[in-house]
Amino acid sequence: MIGGPGALLVGGLLLFLLLLLGTRGIAAARGLSSKSDLPLHDDAAEIVPCPPEFALQIFSRADWEFASAIKSHKIAKLFRSERKAVALLWVRQTSAAIQRVMREHAQATRGSGDLEFTTEVKLVLRYAELMLLCGALFLAIQSAGPLWVRGVALYADSLSQHIADVQQAFSATTARREISSIGSS
């Protein structure tokens, strides 16, 4: 049994770990321009979440099975290093894209009078969850490689798509209201 001080210590440690992962997730986006293999997007404002079918491809087990069936140490090593680099870029891009979406959302809500409290809280919680996941994925991919985190990565991908969809729906509603208010005035 853990006593009061022990529980506090464990709780504190967990909180510290969560904060560490969250900051790692946010910081993941910062290395984007310097470490990208192909810096096609100079402007961070343009970054959008990666299409889901390609997230499946990056974390594909079938590709690994194909590469390992060749039975060459050199090919297996090349595959691991190549996929690791792409997977880390995917984490950075996902983190950067969602930070951009949240910035846009914050700007849009500042001028809006009809916010739904529960929707906003849910969105912030999902954002925090995604940043934690990005931090955890970043560390896990660096240490163990992308194949072992496929499930978590796909969950993070669906979460990022969901946040982007919520923001898009919010922007569309706000735009419709503005247009109708202009029309009625």
Binding site: L40, H41, P51, A62, L78, Q93
Partner: protein, 149 residues
């Protein structure tokens, strides 16, 4: 001019491009390289004499750009095994010796310039990484077995 009126020549040019040129090319990898070769290195604009003579030059350019992006996304979504197969078809259709082509591909990575400009950077990175892997796999398969002691 309305958007619908503008879109029609682009769609017609795109259909023409598919029927007359792209359908005659053996695989998606060859299609990607062909389409990338119609792009000016300095300006990034696409040009195709035949297409521009049948349609307006801007419609032809837009059709080439759209086709380039579509073929790129199709290839990027291929599994590694499928991409190795694409590479084999491409090399079979080439007049050069496959070993020579792939030696240059591995050294200079000329396929990097086959990537369209307006594509997702992670997808571009995945594609380039997969081509590097496919080239290494192909060369490994064709390499002579090590001499037995």
């Amino acid at each position: 001019m309305s958007a619908a009126v503008k879109l029609v020549p682009v769609q017609a040019a795109y259909d023409d491009l598919l029927q007359r040129s792209l359908s005659k090319i053996s695989c998606d990898l060859a299609r990607l390289i062909y389409l990338a070769s119609t792009r000016d290195y300095n300006t990034g604009t696409y040009h195709h004499d035949g297409l521009a003579s049948r349609f307006r030059a801007d419609a032809a350019s837009k059709a080439l750009e759209i086709a380039h992006r579509q073929v790129f996304y199709t290839l990027a979504a291929y599994s590694l095994e499928e991409l190795v197969r694409q590479l084999e078809i491409y090399l079979d259709g080439s007049r050069e010796r496959p070993q020579d082509v792939l030696r240059i591909w591995q050294k200079l990575e000329p396929y990097r310039i086959a990537v369209p400009v307006e594509v997702h950077p992670t997808v571009a990175c995945l594609f380039l990484s997969n081509v590097r892997l496919a080239v290494a796999i192909w060369r490994h398969r064709r390499a002579p077995p090590p001499p037995r002691p």
